[in-house]
């Protein structure tokens, strides 16, 4: 009577509390169904009444075979107790009723030992009902309902037994059935031959139907998968054992001399029958113990698990190979991808790896994992049978959800960090460029203007004086000043080409290509790009054209620049000898400069068919 004496289960339990999901799952225990004061009172009452009735039903057995009486009482009470335990579990009310009725009917199987009143007739007619109820529970647990054909089968079995045995009773006397003549008997149409015939037919039918039940049980054992198998295997095995024991008793009973009672066989059967409700209790405990799997799951997915790791761990934990976890978080912006279409977030990365979530799936168990803000980041699609393990399933979902959310946060943090690095790199490039432009302007507008002024003064002095020696000295100084001016101009241009800042790429490239010893066609938009982009493109063009002049032996070349709102493309092509190797220092410099702006460089230089360098740089 442990259940009845259980203290109210702690402050967290409210009266009438239902077996819940989520947070309560952590405290899930086999005794959970006994929660609630009113239910405990009712269950205790049922147990007390059953105990009294069962003790009474054993009749004279207490004096003749007390061991059998004790076994019967204990077995019946265990059935009822198990039924009460299952009563509050989701979807198990039918199984609970079947077990309780089996327990009650079983205790009544020995009511004929009273040898009086209607009890012997009841025993002959209804003596097998405990097996029907037991089969019902065994075939159903833990499903919410029986398969249709099995339900029909059990009804046919019950009807066959009740009708057949009633016919046996009315065509016989109490003595023919081994009962005491002092009992009341409905001997309406006593006929020895009819009784014999009906007995054979009814018993044969019961035998055939009994074998069918064995087949059903074996089928369940073979067919059940996943968590169900762990839970129901002991139940089915116990059921098969009970069926075998029952059949053995029946055989012994048939072979025994009339009037003799095979009490040893009954005792054995009673003890074996006890295994059935105990197996159900084990199953209930087993379900509770499944929660331990969550510990394993948590360990598996603790450190930055991605969707596929969570999928693998969940399949193992919930023993559902059909389970799937789909990533619903939008694919992040492509970090470094030259393919323009990649910037269109179409989730192709997810599509290539696993199936894509395409809406509700009514025949599957579906659970979404959401961020605190409610945005779904993943969906778990599982076998609907897992709904019977709601506590376990919810705990598993919560554990995986934490892991996935954690992983997402980590990824976000990494992305933010990368963004920061890129932003600071862009700032450094920008600052370096600004510094070069400032330096160039200082040289151009400051130093150069001063030197030019000096040259003008020298010229003025030359004009003013008639002294040939002075004129010669001024002339020499002026000539040296010209050299300095030229050097200064080259220096300033090397630091930053002023023509680029002033006229943009089109003008600057025209300026460059005009000086080259081969004709270069320049097609460039007049519109301006960001200074850093223009500087890089200009640098790349100069570097590439230098290579064309030095190595390509080309007759002509072309520079084509196209700009959109998001990209700048430049293609530099020549008709030279080709065969440019992408590992040269010049190209390495180009690649470095372009990569610094998150751009891409491709080079195509088949021997004898010219060289084509394509640069693509993102623009804001």
């Amino acid at each position: 009577m442990r259940a009845a004496s259980l203290p109210s289960a702690g402050p967290a339990v409210s009266p009438g509390g239902t077996p819940g999901h989520g947070g309560q799952a952590q405290r899930w225990s086999p005794w959970l169904p006994w929660r609630g004061r009113r239910f405990r009172q009712a269950a205790t009452a049922v147990l007390v009444v059953t105990a009294c009735g069962t003790v009474a039903a054993q009749g004279t057995l207490w004096t003749q075979v007390p061991a059998l009486a004790i076994v019967n009482v204990v077995t019946s009470l265990t059935f009822v107790f198990t039924g009460l335990t299952l009563y509050r579990q989701p979807g198990q009310r039918g199984v609970a009723w079947a077990l309780m009725l089996a327990g009650v009917c079983r205790s009544l199987d020995f009511v004929d030992t009273w040898n009086a009143g209607p009890w012997p007739v009841y025993d002959v007619v209804c003596g097998g009902m405990d097996r029907v109820f037991g089969a019902w529970a065994l075939l159903r647990y833990p499903n919410p309902r029986l398969p249709g054909y099995q339900r029909v089968f059990l009804i046919v079995l019950a009807s066959w037994m009740l009708v057949g045995r009633t016919l046996i009773a009315v065509t016989s006397t109490a003595r023919w059935n081994g009962e005491s003549p002092s009992a009341w008997w409905p001997a309406l149409m006593v006929n020895r031959r009819l009784f014999g015939l009906i007995s054979v037919v009814v018993n044969a039918g019961e035998g055939v139907l009994g074998v069918a039940i064995l087949v059903f049980l074996v089928m369940r054992l073979v067919q059940t998968r996943g968590l169900d198998r762990i839970v129901i295997a002991p139940v089915i095995v116990a059921g098969l054992a009970a069926a075998v024991a029952g059949s053995a008793t029946a055989v012994v009973q048939m072979l025994a001399s009339p009037g003799a009672t095979p009490n040893g066989a009954f005792l054995t059967e009673g003890v074996v029958d006890l295994a059935v409700p105990l197996a159900f209790l084990i199953a209930v405990i087993q379900r509770a113990l499944l929660l331990n799997n969550i510990t394993v799951l948590a360990a598996q997915v603790s450190a930055g698990a991605d969707v596929s790791a969570v999928r693998y761990a969940l399949r193992a934990t919930l023993r559902d190979p059909t389970l799937d976890v789909l990533d619903l978080s939008a694919p992040g912006p492509s970090l470094h991808d030259g393919d323009a279409s990649a910037s269109v977030g179409d989730g192709r990365a997810g599509a290539s790896a696993v199936a894509v979530w395409d809406g509700p799936q009514p025949d599957r168990l579906v659970e979404f994992i959401r961020t605190e803000a409610g945005t779904p980041i993943a969906v778990i699609i599982a076998d609907p049978a897992l709904a019977r393990y709601r506590g376990l399933f919810d705990a598993a979902v919560q554990t995986s959800g934490l892991a996935l959310k954690n992983a997402q946060l980590q990824a976000q943090a990494a992305r933010a960090e990368l963004e920061q690095v890129r932003a600071s790199r862009a700032r450094i490039i920008e600052a370096g460029l600004a510094e070069r432009r400032r330096l160039e302007r200082d040289l151009h507008d400051g130093v150069q203007q001063h030197l030019l002024g000096l040259a003008a003064q020298l010229t003025a002095a030359m004009t003013s004086t008639a002294d040939p020696a002075a004129t010669a000295a001024f002339g020499q100084a002026r000539d040296e000043l010209k050299v300095v001016l030229r050097e200064l101009r080259d220096l300033a241009h090397g630091i930053h080409p002023a023509v680029l800042s002033q006229g943009g790429l089109a003008v600057a490239l025209e300026d460059v290509t005009e000086r080259l010893p081969l004709p270069v066609r320049v097609i460039a938009p007049v519109s301006r790009a960001a200074p850093a982009v223009e500087a890089t493109v200009y640098f790349v063009a100069c570097e590439a054209l230098t290579n064309v002049v030095k190595h390509s032996r080309a007759d002509s070349a072309s520079v084509v620049i196209r700009m959109t709102d998001t990209w700048l493309d430049m293609e530099i092509a020549d008709d030279g000898v080709g065969g440019a190797t992408p590992d040269g220092q010049g190209l390495a410099n180009i690649v470095d400069r372009v990569r610094a702006l998150d751009g891409d460089v491709t080079i195509d230089s088949p021997p004898g068919r010219g060289t084509r360098l394509v640069v693509r740089i993102p623009c804001e």
Binding site: A455, A460, G503, S556
Partner: protein
């Protein structure tokens, strides 16, 4: 000759004024921006105005804007742009804005006082002057139109002088040829290059420069 200067750099501006005065010219105004210059010379426009290209406020092409405005207000004043940039594009841009009595010279010309004064005189006289450095770059550019290959050396020399803005007489004097011979060469050049023979010397400069700058990377 009366000259006004708009030049951003103070040292260069004063040195230039010194040079011009020493060479016999009279500097009537000297300012650091084109707008100030226009205000200063409004009452008595000089014969020639010398402009820098990059000046405040935007330091881009104020010189060319000022030239356009100046020509609108004082059509008889010559304009000489002094620049540190040997870019043909600026020269073309200037000629598209103002077609006569205009010049584009590099500042390095201040080292040659007679040449500078000659250019000022030509601009004041309504001629067009283009810096020989720029013309040379155009003629030696890889992008020069392939038709130029059809010209002989003498015709090429004539073409170069035309691009610098020389008149027929100037060309004749420089090449020691008779004016008639020069005219024959010019006709030949225009025919070979497929250009329209214009009667106006200044339009001729523009046509030649436009031809030289036309992007034709050969066959």
């Amino acid at each position: 000759m009366r000259i006004a200067i708009a030049e951003d750099s103070g040292l260069f501006r004063s040195s230039l004024a010194l040079l011009l005065e020493a060479s016999g010219a009279h500097v009537t105004a000297s300012t650091s921006t084109g707008i100030e210059l226009l205000a200063t010379i409004a009452a008595s426009p000089p014969d020639v105005v010398i402009l820098d290209i990059r000046m405040p406020p935007s330091f881009t092409d104020e010189g060319i804007k000022t030239a356009a405005e100046l020509r609108r207000i004082h059509p008889r004043t010559g304009i000489l742009v002094l620049s540190t940039y040997a870019q043909t594009r600026y020269a073309s841009q200037l000629l598209e804005t103002v077609s006569t009595g205009v010049g584009y010279l590099l500042k390095d010309n201040v080292t040659d006082a007679p040449a500078l004064m000659d250019s000022l005189a030509r601009v004041a006289a309504g001629e067009t002057v283009i810096d020989p450095t720029i013309v040379r770059r155009l003629l030696h550019s890889n992008r020069k139109p392939s038709k130029i290959d059809m010209l002989n050396d003498r015709e090429r020399a004539v073409l170069r002088r035309m691009a610098e803005g020389r008149s027929n007489l100037g060309i004749a004097k420089q090449l020691s040829l008779s004016a008639r011979t020069v005219e024959t060469h010019i006709t030949s050049v225009f025919t070979k290059l497929g250009l329209d023979q214009t009667d106006n010397d200044n339009n001729r400069v523009r046509a030649v420069l436009t031809f030289l700058r036309s992007a034709d990377p050969g066959p």
